[in-house]
């Protein structure tokens, strides 16, 4: 029985190759996109579950901060028996490493950890051992390949720069790369002792205002993640209670109310966004996943609907076959079974086009959403299980829907091959087109709104002009000391308009919190540290008082923005918490436009302690400015990592998330367009086959081609108009909600809705006309002969 079904199904698929491939391809697109999202969800929820006994692994949270003092872990291990083991973890960014050819590379994932990290996380060593002294470092496999071209790098030397000096470390071993679903993903792991070198570096960023304290083995320096691994059967709550007492050892002023809590490792990925200092772990966003899931589901719906309607159309041709079967004694159940069987068969065949989507889709998702889905996701049972589930559900659903309809038709009707005409109801059949085009219009409106808002964010700056500004990182002590010299030399280049140094250059993403004490307590400002001339270079407007002059050691004056002046009711020349306010600048954009402009205070930096140098060019001959600058940097500090960027490029990075979202939705809209066109194509085909006779009669009676085309188009375009009516309020609502993410919004424009509508209308018009043109043009005698 099933064998016969299989035979019939496969042979009939092969007979209508074009229609079958539209069915299979269309369903494949839907299946592929839902699977892609399922894979993403599986990946996202698998984070840190590779850790052996991840249920008894926790990260210590101090107050609302992930970082804890160095001494905490050892105290806990010594005094609390439930704790089986622990490791501490710190990771540095922008660590410069010299490769074999003497070239300097910058690495972001340079970690320092207790050697117990490997055992506790289940990371195996390929060669050698963990780093056990401050002269050693262990590498991941991919780094071993990158730096030494061969895997067994143990015993080789690695030259790393901390502070201002290059240090030579010995590679103690090579560990397997951390899994792609690990929140921690260090490429280098050195001994904890070595981390002291890095803390000096962080402090130096602040220049004049940093301290030179490198001592980290205290209770009041929170740098480290502390991971605890409990014995089997231990109660994490009782451990939490037991470790509260260590809070008393903390700096009571800062951590007065802080308690300790334990965060299960499996929650780190999704539930760390509210925590401070979650700098070394990757994080995910559950809400965003929901949106993507919804879009993928809608795409699947579209393709299933397409499939159902195309199949129904195709089955009209096969009614006689079904009739003959029924006359021979096939029950309704047998017919239903065959239709169901065929639907599931097509659904399974669509796995092939689905994989054509899934494979490049994974790398697309990895790059746009900054994920690391690897091929190991295919080795998970869940992936295949959900694939099979999606196929069976899709096939069963559409099969049952089609089958229940068909098996009910009486045999006589089947045999004459004439479906009862149901008059007006027949038209409603095409109403699903409205759904397709509504989805399509909503996606187009979203993409356009995204683009418009991003564009607005990148070009609309208040009281600040970031155009034509080159930023050079002064990465070594010599460069910092020589800043005035570089400035003088480079100013001779005719392309240079102005040069200034700074520690922070707005708009930038991170901000420096400055605490000022007032009578009511302490006020936190967004702070900036700038050099002389920087305010002018950025074309910021001083509305009261004056800008910074020549730097004077020991005299601290500040410049505040208008918001700050208003909040504290202060004029230039007055004192704010003992600091003399030198000037007031107009409110300027300092951060991304997700947030409103806040009260800000600017301090002046010592010209010999600048971290960054800004060069305003005339925009004509930037290449010569850059090459001059590179030459100078190389001369002064031959071992420096040269890092020159445009300020606008840095600003671009604030909105990568939005840009990637736009890209993703753009891809989904293309899929939606393809599917909508496919659906429309199918229905038009059916309708034209059905109406060939009508068209012939009309032509015999003198209808022109244009009139026939109008007639056919009218029936379909009405659904696009209805789709538009549905889509406008929905997209208006969702886009208004999305724009609420920004403090400064561009607003929705009427022309976006017009464009989306016109586009949908045009695509529908083209599809219908393209297909009906042949019929409209054909000789009516041909059309009438068959009846």
């Amino acid at each position: 029985m099933n064998l016969t079904n299989l035979k019939i199904s496969i042979r009939s698929l092969l007979k209508n190759k074009i229609q079958s491939s539209i069915s299979v391809l269309g369903l494949g697109i839907g299946l592929g996109s839902i699977m892609l999202l399922v894979i993403l969800v599986i990946h996202e929820f698998s984070f840190d579950k590779f850790i052996p006994d991840y249920n008894s692994a926790f990260r210590v949270i101090q107050g609302d901060d992930c970082r804890t003092p160095y001494l905490l872990a050892e105290e806990i291990k010594n005094e609390i028996p439930e704790v089986k083991s622990f490791f501490r973890f710190f990771q540095a960014n922008n660590v410069q490493i010299k490769d074999k050819n003497g070239q300097i590379l910058s690495e972001n994932l340079f970690a320092f950890a207790d050697s117990s990290v490997y055992n506790n996380l289940g990371i195996k060593f390929r060669y050698g051992t963990p780093a056990l002294s401050r002269n050693e470092v262990a590498l991941s496999e991919s780094m071993a390949k990158k730096y030494y071209k061969y895997e067994n790098a143990s015993g080789s030397l690695l030259i790393v720069k901390f502070n201002d000096d290059f240090i030579t470390l010995t590679v103690s071993g090579v560990y397997e790369d951390f899994p792609s679903n690990s929140t921690l993903n260090p490429e280098f792991i050195a001994d904890l002792e070595l981390s002291g070198e890095v803390f000096g570096q962080t402090q130096r960023m602040l220049g004049e205002y940093g301290s030179s304290l490198n001592e980290f083995k205290t209770w009041d320096r929170n740098y480290f993640y502390t991971y605890l691994f409990l014995n089997e059967g231990s109660d994490s709550e009782s451990v939490t209670n037991k470790i509260q007492k260590y809070a008393e050892l903390l700096d009571q002023e800062r951590w007065a109310d802080a308690g300790y809590s334990l965060q299960p490792v499996s929650e780190i990925y999704f539930n760390s966004n509210e925590l401070n200092g979650n700098l070394f772990s990757r994080t995910g966003n559950k809400d965003e996943l929901k949106y993507y899931m919804a879009i993928a589901f809608v795409i699947l719906c579209i393709s299933v609907i397409n499939y159902i309607f195309l199949t129904k159309a195709k089955i009209i041709i096969r009614l006689k076959e079904l009739g003959a079967k029924k006359a021979m004694g096939a029950t309704r159940f047998i017919i239903q079974k065959q239709v169901l069987f065929e639907a599931i068969l097509i659904a399974s065949m669509s796995v092939i086009p689905a994989f054509i989507i899934i494979i490049p889709g994974i790398s697309f998702i990895n790059s746009t959403l900054n994920k690391t889905i690897g091929s190991e996701v295919f080795s998970l049972g869940q992936t295949w299980l959900s694939l099979i589930l999606v196929i069976v559900l899709t096939g069963t659903f559409s099969g049952l829907l089609i089958g229940s309809n068909i098996s009910r038709i009486s045999i006589v009707q089947l045999l004459t091959g004439r479906m009862k005409k149901i008059g007006r109801k027949n038209n409603l059949k095409n109403s699903f087109l409205s759904f397709h085009f509504a989805v399509f219009i909503i996606l187009i409106v979203s993409v356009l709104t995204f683009k418009k808002q991003i564009n607005y964010a990148l070009t609309n700056f208040k009281a600040i002009n970031p155009e034509n500004i080159l930023i050079c990182n002064l990465g070594t002590a010599e460069l910092q000391k020589q800043f005035p010299v570089i400035k003088n030399e480079l100013e001779k280049n005719p392309g240079v308009k102005m040069i200034a140094g700074s520690s922070f250059i707005p708009p930038f993403n991170a901000f420096l919190p400055i605490n000022l004490k007032t009578e009511d307590g302490s006020v936190r400002f967004d702070g900036l540290i700038m050099g002389e001339g920087m305010i002018e270079l950025l074309e910021m407007e001083v509305v009261d008082g004056e800008s910074f002059g020549i730097f004077q050691q020991g005299v601290t004056t500040i410049i505040i923005n208008e918001s700050a002046a208003k909040e504290f009711n202060i004029k230039a020349g007055e004192l704010l918490n003992g600091f003399k306010v030198r000037g007031i600048v107009r409110d300027f954009s300092a951060h991304s436009i997700h947030s409103l402009i806040q009260p800000m205070a600017i301090l002046q930096q010592n010209p010999e302690k600048m971290r960054l140098m800004a060069v305003k060019t005339n925009g004509v001959n930037d290449a010569s400015v850059i090459s001059d600058l590179q030459k100078m940097v190389r001369q002064i500090s031959p071992e420096a990592f040269i890092d020159i960027n445009y300020l606008t490029d840095n600003i671009n990075q604030f909105y990568t998330r939005e840009q990637n979202q736009a890209k993703l939705i753009g891809v989904f809209s293309v899929l939606a367009i393809v599917l909508s066109v496919m659906g429309l194509f199918g229905v038009v085909l059916i309708s034209i086959t059905r109406r060939t006779k009508e068209i012939g009669i009309r032509k015999v009676n003198g209808a022109k081609i244009f009139e026939v085309l109008t007639l056919l188009n009218k029936d379909f375009l009405i659904w696009v108009i209805i789709a538009y009516v549905i889509a406008v309020p929905v997209s208006y609502y969702t886009m208004t909600r999305w724009l609420e993410n920004f403090a400064y919004q561009v607003g929705l424009s009427w022309w976006i809705f017009i464009i989306a509508g016109v586009l949908a209308f045009f695509i529908a018009l083209m599809t219908v006309t393209f297909q009906s043109f042949k019929v409209a043009k054909s000789n009516p005698v041909e059309a009438l002969r068959y009846e």
Binding site: T4, K7, R11, K15, A327, M328, G329, S410, V412, L415
Partner: protein
């Protein structure tokens, strides 16, 4: 074997009722070969469909093999189709996706006949109809006459008591038509009850009895003179 009493079949449109069959009485005995004749729209096919349980009368009584066969449940009808009635159609209605062998085999599959037995039955028929060489061909590769031959084979493979043929020669030219009619006659002589609908006077005469239908009423009903 068949007993129709006062059969009405009509269609209601908005304002009027159109009768296709009106007050038809008909008895067919086992072993008869009845030809139903009449002009287009006389209700021949509808009558055949009612006899074959493909259609239901709006009024009247129908007894098949002595059992009341009107207002049967779907399941019961299927039972009759599987074991008692074979059909031949004007347009053959072979399943395009199955080859000759598989087409003939299909009704047996619905009757849950075992594979071995199926093979034997189909092979037997193929042999009898001289179609062994063609068993792997698909309907589209056969001539009309051959297709109808396959359809006949398919109709009788389950050894039904009653064979219903709706213009079996309508799509064939005369030579092929004659071949099919000879075959039907032979089947009848072997004991099968056959009812055919036909336009062709000559082919009607292959039967043992002719029923003439005009506008839904039986006008004539007579035995064919040998």
């Amino acid at each position: 074997m068949i007993k129709l009493r006062n059969i009405d079949r009509y269609f209601d449109s908005k304002f009027q009722r159109t009768f296709v069959l009106k007050g038809v009485d008909l008895d067919v005995e086992q072993g008869e070969f009845v030809s139903i004749m009449g002009p287009s729209g006389a209700g021949k096919s509808t009558l055949l469909n009612i006899i074959g349980l493909l259609d239901e009368p709006n009024a009247g009584e129908y007894y098949l093999l002595g059992d009341p066969a009107f207002q049967l449940k779907e399941k019961k009808k299927v039972q009759y189709h599987r074991s008692h009635i074979g059909f031949i159609f004007q347009a053959f209605h072979l399943i395009d996706e199955l080859n000759v062998y598989e087409n003939i085999e299909t009704p047996l599959i619905y009757r849950n006949v075992k594979t071995k037995e199926r093979k034997a039955l189909v092979a037997d028929l193929l042999d009898r109809f001289n179609m062994v060489a063609k068993k792997d061909l698909f309907p589209s590769q056969l001539s009309g006459g051959q297709q109808q031959l396959v359809a006949v084979a398919r109709a009788i493979v389950g050894n039904p008591k009653l064979l219903l043929a709706d213009e079996p020669t309508g799509n064939l030219h005369s030579e092929q038509g004659e071949m099919i009619m000879k075959l039907l006659k032979k089947l009848n002589e072997e004991g099968m009850t056959i009812i055919q609908v036909t336009h062709n006077e000559a082919f009607a005469n292959y039967g043992s009895r002719i029923v003439k239908l005009v506008d839904g009423l039986i006008q004539e009903d007579y035995q064919v003179k040998k």
